[in-house]
């Protein structure tokens, strides 16, 4: 027994310890923990920073919107309470800047004489039009990959706003030794697997902020992460405000019920 047990034990020991001899090809490419954006809307009383929302919208519109949709956001959301705080005329002007496919004209045509799709300016009731007419077109323009819609991205990713901030910011690092970036991809350690199909979207001064804020990559990433946090959770401020009132009410009610409970039971003991 003893003579076979020893080699068996050795073999088992080798098997168990084998993963510790990490070869270069077995680099752990799990994504890094997210970088905290320390956002104004964190915490139970946090609200969105209106100026950051407006700047973030500008970054979305001028940079991200080239490939990423914002399917669930309508133009009228832009002037609603708890949002970026645009005025209604501003929101109308933003909407009018987009061209949407028009309804058939009075001759029943949807294309003009040259075969181009008839369009109309957007109105408040419209949702943001998608950047590509369909998934195939989106993939054809992005080397086969599909840029995800951004209107829910921060609810749909572990880490939320911090994750989006980290991804947008995380392109400026050199890959570690032994990690080869796949052809046609880019290195971003905050992305699972480290190979991301999205080219670095932000550069310094990619946008010109009208409020004079310096448009560094970090600033742009932070602003767009703020804007997309709102896009994912447009009712957050209303929710937290109502929640506070509800909790106050329940605490008071609990106190009253506890007093009633003690009073009713007092005569029993």
């Amino acid at each position: 027994m003893r003579s076979t047990a020893l080699p068996l034990g050795l073999a088992l020991g080798l098997l168990v310890s084998a993963p510790e001899l990490t070869p270069a090809w077995a680099l752990d490419t799990a994504r890094l923990p997210v970088k905290s954006g320390d956002f104004s809307f964190n915490g139970p009383f946090g609200t969105y920073d209106r100026a950051a929302l407006q700047r973030g919208f500008q970054v979305y519109k001028e940079v991200c919107a080239a490939c990423h949709g914002l399917d669930h956001i309508a133009f009228h959301n832009l002037d609603e309470a708890g949002g970026p705080g645009f005025t209604e005329p501003q929101a109308k002007a933003i909407a009018a800047g987009y061209k949407l496919p028009a309804d058939p004209n009075d001759k029943g045509e949807i294309n003009d004489d040259k075969g181009n799709r008839l369009t109309r300016p957007g109105i408040l009731a419209d949702k943001f039009p998608p950047p590509f007419p369909n998934e195939e077109a989106a993939r054809a323009n992005n080397s086969g990959m599909l840029p995800p819609d951004l209107s829910m991205i921060e609810k749909a990713r572990e880490g939320g706003a911090d994750y989006v901030y980290s991804i947008a910011y995380g392109f400026n690092m050199a890959p570690p030794k032994g990690f080869k970036v796949t052809d046609g991809k880019y290195y971003n350690p905050y992305f699972e697997g480290w190979n991301i199909a999205m080219p670095p979207p932000l550069v310094d001064n990619a946008v010109t902020y009208s409020d004079g804020t310096k448009a560094t990559v970090a600033q742009e990433a932070h602003d767009v992460a703020t804007f997309l946090a709102w896009a994912s959770d447009t009712k957050m401020e209303e929710r937290k405000r109502m929640g506070f009132a509800v909790l106050i009410f329940l605490v008071v009610l609990s106190g009253l019920l506890f007093a009633a409970y003690r009073k009713v039971w007092a005569d029993l003991h």
């Binding site: 139970p44 669930h72 959301n77 995800p148 829910m152 609810k155 749909a156 990713r157 572990e158 994912s232 447009t234 009712k235 209303e238 929710r239 937290k240 109502m242 929640g243 506070f244 509800v246 909790l247 329940l250 605490v251 009610l253 609990s254 019920l257 506890f258 009633a260 409970y261 009713v264 039971w265 029993l268 003991h269």
Partner: protein
């Protein structure tokens, strides 16, 4: 519902009603004068809390169904429209989705309370069995409900669970196809799940009626596990337990509100905010937390059919508890040996839940979780089928107090040191 009625119609109108449909008499006898042991503790308030949960789920669910579209192409967007465009739609949906978790939290406390104090023992076997049926119906309802938002976890969860039926020999595939109404989870599946998700809560409400009926015939068990012997042992349900239940319900709602308003997606999975896509499998398919212990059992068995049988057996086992426990004493307060195995069982359930939440090949401190899950599954069955009958026979219970009143009103040496 049992015993002589103490209802005394005062007005002529009440007499008129009472002779035709004695509903006021029923309410009076079950919710007002019903004699209730005077020593029920906090853990006995969860029956009322669960009724509240069911009511909340039905109310919010009916409103959500007004806006929800049960169509594979539109369901996901309709849920998002509820969150953004329907007045207070976000509130309805967050109450409903967190309400499911709160419902299960309450039901698990309720079930462990029943186990600890031996509330399944004679004469309350049917009460327990009806409760297990409610739990089964709740799991089915929650599973159907989780599919409705048609996110990635909805779709893949539905795929995994319905595929379990294909493990049945010979007719498995046909059964799965019949369940789907198609050759895969799709629009037909979503529609029938919505139909059933709307139906089952009302069946639950009906079975809850039976549960309350079966409670009111033998009356409440209590932390001492001894029978009510005299009127001094009880107090009328109202106002004593209405006010106590109301207070603890309020604390429960406080916790509920913290999740709804400040961490509404705490129990959720981010992947479920990605629309269902049959072509993209998520790296880890995880059910909702309340199903994780059973999921861990399923995955810990290498053979699919055996896994399904073990998982099903874990639930079926619950039906037999009244006869697996051979002890003459109900409450674990007086069962020193059983108490230890009970708490070990509670810990094992948490371990199973944790194993279910991790990926299959995960390990903690070098121990592969699959083996932790196997051991835990083994203990689950060992506890009910071997330990429970044996401990009841070999254990020497502590001395029981002579009556509830004596124990509560504090005659020395009567109350157990707890």
């Amino acid at each position: 519902m049992s015993g002589p009625s103490t209802y005394n119609p005062k007005s002529g109108f009440e007499k008129w009603i009472d002779q035709r449909l004695p509903l006021p008499r029923l309410m009076h006898d079950t919710m007002q004068t019903f004699p209730t042991p005077r020593n029920l503790n906090i853990w006995y308030t969860f029956g009322g809390i669960l009724t509240f949960c069911l009511g909340v789920q039905i109310l919010t669910g009916v409103v959500l169904a007004m806006h929800y579209v049960a169509n594979a192409g539109m369901a996901f967007d309709s849920v998002e429209a509820i969150m953004r465009d329907v007045n207070y739609g976000w509130l309805m949906r967050y109450i409903h989705s967190n309400g499911a978790s709160m419902f299960f939290l309450a039901v698990y406390i309720h079930m462990f309370r029943g186990l600890y104090y031996g509330s399944y023992k004679a004469p309350r076997e049917l009460l327990w069995i009806i409760g297990v049926f409610i739990y089964l119906l709740m799991m089915a309802t929650a599973f159907f409900g989780y599919v409705l938002p048609w996110g990635q976890m909805s779709f893949w969860g539905a795929t995994v669970i319905t595929n379990l039926f294909s493990a049945i020999p010979l007719v498995g595939t046909q059964i799965a196809t019949w369940l789907w109404g198609d050759f895969a989870v799709g629009d037909a599946t979503l529609n029938r799940f919505f139909s059933l998700h709307y139906l089952l809560p009302f069946i639950i409400a009906g079975v809850v009626g039976l549960h309350v009926w079966a409670l009111h015939v033998p009356g409440n068990n209590n932390p001492l596990g001894i029978d009510v012997k005299s009127p001094q042992d009880t107090v009328p349900f109202h106002p004593y337990y209405t006010v106590k239940d109301a207070f603890y319900l309020c604390l429960f709602v406080l916790l509920f509100a913290v999740f709804v308003f400040y961490a509404p997606n705490f129990f959720g999975n981010p992947d479920n905010y990605v629309q269902a896509n049959p072509l993209v499998t998520p790296p880890d398919i995880v059910p909702e937390w309340y199903l994780l212990p059973f999921y861990a059992m399923l995955r810990s068995i290498p053979n699919k059919l055996m896994g399904v049988l073990v998982m099903g057996g874990a639930i079926v086992t619950l039906f037999f508890i009244p006869w697996l426990d051979t002890s003459r004493v109900r409450s674990c307060r007086f069962r020193p040996l059983m108490k230890q195995f009970f708490w070990a069982f509670a810990v094992v359930c948490v371990i199973l839940g944790y194993c279910g939440s991790q990926s299959v090949d995960a390990a903690v401190a070098g121990i592969p979780l699959i083996w932790a899950a196997r051991l835990a599954t083994f203990y689950y069955f060992l506890f009910f089928w071997i330990l429970m009958p044996i401990i009841g026979l070999i254990e020497t219970p502590k001395k029981l107090p002579t009556s509830i009143a004596q124990s509560v009103l504090g005659e020395p040496a009567a109350a157990p040191a707890e």
